[in-house]
Symmetry: C2
Subunit: 182 residues, 2 copies
Amino acid sequence: MTDHAPLSAKRVALLVEEDFEDRELPLLLELLRAEGLTVTVIGPVADAVYRGKRQEATITSDMAASKARVKDFDIVIVPGGYAPDRIRLRHAMVDLVRDAYEAGKPVASIDRGAQVLITINALRGRVVTCWPSIAIDVKNAGGQYVDRPVVEDGNVITARKWDDVSALTDVVVRVLGGTPAS
Amino acid sequence: MTDHAPLSAKRVALLVEEDFEDRELPLLLELLRAEGLTVTVIGPVADAVYRGKRQEATITSDMAASKARVKDFDIVIVPGGYAPDRIRLRHAMVDLVRDAYEAGKPVASIDRGAQVLITINALRGRVVTCWPSIAIDVKNAGGQYVDRPVVEDGNVITARKWDDVSALTDVVVRVLGGTPAS
């Protein structure tokens, strides 16, 4: 017997906006679902198609951020590319990340997704990784920047870039109580 | 008689990278040249075509940043859109902005161009404007963010967004000793 719920009972809020990194978000969604997790793609509105910044991939949202309640999710993940620059200005999306963080639930980012963690002031005193262009912003926000694939510090999980999607997935699965399939 | 050189003797270094804001950089280049200023478009390499993030405009570089010397310019201007995210990682471009700033020459940014001014640590204690998504980063870098079209604080000139290109041009012309035509 185990005291864990099955991994399929774990609910992931995966944020989306225009100009996500084409090589990250579709793969992350695929790997999380392949692990059996229940993933809800949350955008500014429901049932909308968002394009990657390279125009090479699209993702359709399942739910509007204004309808999302943090109690319905076990983790919130912020994507990369230039999507986080837009997410920062979406109050409902920022609130969802902040509510999860303040509830002590894990929040994760990849690439420039750490910009949203700066916005909610979640990085002060934490070890953090991100795309190098925003490393100075992470440091100015009180984070300790490191150039590693994935870093876990308390309930804040950060990944560096598209190469690190698989490593991020493994950490998410482990944090949610499962054993990574890879 | 005047003790100013003619405005055509004033040399502007206008930076460019991929994913600039289509509604800003071409118009800024046009307005600066219409004022009679000598504008050099400086990119990672010379004679390369850079596209805006909306794929609606292109700009061709005149000079590679590695060949640019701050003594040859009277002002350096950092564009907006997502170009500054790339410029931050280009050492020769960052060095040009830093050298101008440290020489006491005016440096200007529009939109997210303030990211590069964060990178060179030019905003501490200064009043600054920018695109709102990076306002928190400006504050974390020690700047005092204000939502105004253009702000001049010492040798740092910042403009907010595409609507403010004309107002930025006027300030640049005035700082360089001319009278705006508009």
